[in-house]
């Protein structure tokens, strides 16, 4: 009888130890992910990332503008402008294409090589300067610590691959799927006012058919952008805070965009209709991520 009890006790203890092991493993994994995101956040906002200390990811991807920069085309570390307008990084985790004009770039790992190694023009300017940049992090006590926690067990954690992985881990945290329109779709009828609802209807109407190209990006689902004449048709989430518009930033504000397409499709929109569309676009804005300090500049917000 006593032996039976001992065996049962032992089994229970073993099962509990197993659970404990799983828990600690998963906890450790979570902590490593957190550490990687934290490292990525520091790198994202740090001009040490560019060869001449002038640019970082945030230079072209500013949280205040849904991680775009407000310029027609962004300027690289040497002051020369890149070809295209900066794309928003919000919900980048759920994208399947990552550049304006190259549908073959299908992962963040592929995309991140461009700002790092592009030469004409230079963006961050890593080409030929890798060691110089890595040295900066190697001599920095704080970065040594951040890399060590994010990549435990590695002898030389400060390397290009790890830097890119950490930045990607941070970028994958930039998620915002709670715009008034999302709330409206979930059944909250009050989330959008009458004007915005009229705009929504107009957006999907046969008159405009905007929805044909600008399909709605569903929360937490992979979003495949359409391409037209080789140029990506972007998601309209946060469109009101990502001016200027088009792949080359050629249209300064949303009214210009509406007028451009009105002219192109020979559609006459009344002022009321234009205002309704703008009200709908406003309902696609979700800046809740701005209240999450863990996504903002670590050198300003702890």
């Amino acid at each position: 009888m006593q032996q039976k009890q001992k065996v049962i006790g032992l089994i229970i203890a073993t099962v509990c130890l197993g659970f404990f092991h799983i828990y600690t493993e998963s906890n450790a994994r979570q902590n490593i992910i957190k550490a990687k995101v934290n490292l990525g956040r520091h790198l994202f906002y740090d001009t040490k990332l560019s060869y001449n200390l002038t640019k970082s990811c945030v230079s072209c991807h500013d949280p205040k503008m849904a991680f775009t920069d407000g310029y027609r085309t962004s300027s690289g570390a040497d002051g020369y402008n890149v070809k295209h307008n900066a794309l928003s990084l919000i919900n980048v985790k759920y994208r399947t294409q990552y550049t304006w004009a190259n549908p073959a770039v299908t992962s963040l790992q592929m995309q991140i090589q461009f700002p790092f190694f592009n030469e004409h023009p230079t963006e961050l300017g890593w080409k030929g300067q890798e060691q110089l940049i890595l040295n900066r992090f190697e001599v920095d006590d704080k970065y040594q610590q951040l890399f060590k926690i994010a990549f435990p067990g590695q002898n030389k954690p400060i390397n290009t691959t790890n830097i890119q992985q950490a930045i990607i881990a941070f970028e994958e945290q930039l998620v915002a799927y709670n715009a008034p329109y999302d709330q409206y779709l979930k059944g909250n009828q009050k989330a959008m006012n009458e004007q915005a609802i009229a705009g929504m209807k107009l957006f999907s109407s046969n008159k405009l058919s905007c929805i044909k190209c600008h399909s709605w990006e569903q929360p937490f689902k992979k979003y495949e952008a359409n391409f037209s004449a080789g140029i990506r048709i972007p998601s309209l989430r946060n469109v009101m805070i990502t001016a200027p518009y088009m792949h080359d930033g050629s249209l300064e504000n949303i009214t210009d965009v509406i007028q451009y397409y009105g002219k192109k499709q020979s559609i006459n929109l009344t002022n009321t209709e234009q205002q309704a569309l703008i009200a709908f676009f406003n309902a696609l804005t979700d800046t809740s991520y701005l209240s999450n300090k863990e996504l903002l500049n670590p050198f300003q917000y702890q």
């Binding site: 200390l53 300027s75 002051g79 704080k142």
Partner: protein, 588 residues
Amino acid sequence: MLRIKIFSFVMLLSMFQTIAYAQQKKTTSKKPAAVFLNEYRAGLMSSPKEDTNWFIVERKKEIEQILKDSLPVKWFKENGGEKVLLAQKIALADPFFTRYLFDLKTRKPLWNEIFGVYPARPGDIKKGITSLPGALMRVEMYNYANNLTTIGVVDLFKMKLVSADHYPDTQPDIPPSLIKLAERIAINAPEVEKALGFKPNAQKPIMSSTKTALNRTKCERSQHLCVAPTFVQGNRALWAIVDLTDNRLVGLRWTNTGTDAAVVTERKMQNETVADCYCEKVNTIHKNGWNMDYLLTASDGLKISNVSFNDKRILNSAKLVDWHVSYSGTDGFGYSDAVGCPIYSQAAVVATDPPKVAEIIEGDSVVGFMLEQKFFSELWPGPCNYSYSQRYFFYNDGRFRITCASIGRGCGNNGTYRPVFRISFAGNEQNFYEYAQEGWKHWTKENWQLQKPSTLYDSSGYQYKISLDKANSYFIEPGKGQFNDGGKGDNAYLYLTKNHLNKDEGETDLVTIGPCCNTNHEQGPEKFINLVPENTANTDLVLWYVPQMKNDDRPGSKYCWAETYYENGVYKIKAYPCFVGPMFVPQK
């Protein structure tokens, strides 16, 4: 048996919790953010090290010495002789003027420097102050510790301070010695040499006197006194951002100045006639029922005052306080500039020609007149040189329009210009309204608002309305590209503040009131909106109007830009001004 099971379970659980807690605690305690924050606040270029450049060592010794004096102030001794010294002596003898020389709590000495002493011009003198001609001098002092400017006007004959004000978070024009120091720091910085590929001994930097900012350094939002000696190299400009509070280089930035040629320049030189006739003296206009005074201020552009139409007083004054020019919203760098008189001003963009009055012709008729002042930097339209225009339009039917434009070319092709207008209407029973869905909505408290694509206008295109009294009101029509002057729209911030008669909130000449590069409403005028916004019904009001224009160097859409072109064997200048500013239309 149950006891054994429970015992082993509880033991394991408590062990599990203890380890998990310890692990969590370990992770939490490793947070390194605070250390990073401090490191960054120290500046971006490198960690502070011992200064070896003799000019910095000397400067620091001088500061140490001055802090031991009974008044921790560096005097302005660069020019002006006895009068200038006497003016400083009088100002520094006044306890109100010297209020912030020491920390108010600890009484520790703070680092102060008098940046300039100028003959007081009409724009500097408050109402009710009388003096003998040439007796008043304006003394501008900067407090580095508090980032605070103190401006005093002294009477040399009466030997007393006649007015003084303290302006937090503002910075006066810097003196020639500081311009030289900033240039020395930039030229001798190894980072600048590395970026340019050579040590810029011969190549003189430009825009060294214009204040700047840079995010994630102490220069951010102009918390320190910072300037940016700039080196033009081909189609680019290298900005060496120098912190004059800490006496060090804090960052470098490149901007793209565009590919358009600029082989000839206007080479406008500063001219004493302009200073004597339009800065020292108030001029008047009496035309088509309009009466007004106008004056070229030291740093608030061309100011009009006492404006009336058919004997009805309309404006106390209107002027252009600042030009904020941003080349990166994310990095927060650009210039915080002001325009004004030549000769006495340290500003790089000054009036080189006198103001001009011209008729406004529509069809075959003269419908009004325009008062215009242009401002140039010497080598415009070369890269990193600027030109601005200020135009006031007065129509025979009582309408008037207050405008300005950047005429390029500036220091980058990704720039945003934000001029700051101050418009003070006459009368102390004013009310202000905004057009809203339900009609005209009364603003009863100080407030600000941005003109956006979703902004509502009434059927005539008016966004606001101001009533001066029961009988007279003006509609306000912002620029939306409708004025046929090339303007594409104002996209303006408007601020409504109460006009205080007992304290100076910009009635006299203002120093730079806002940082170059804020992208939000914090352009300077918000400082005059109280924490608890004041009542704005039936009272004396001031409108601050801050339009936003993005420059463009693309063929076909050039805007706020200038270039030279070749024609018939010579080079000529072509400019693409970006005019902004509201029209005021009397309500019939």
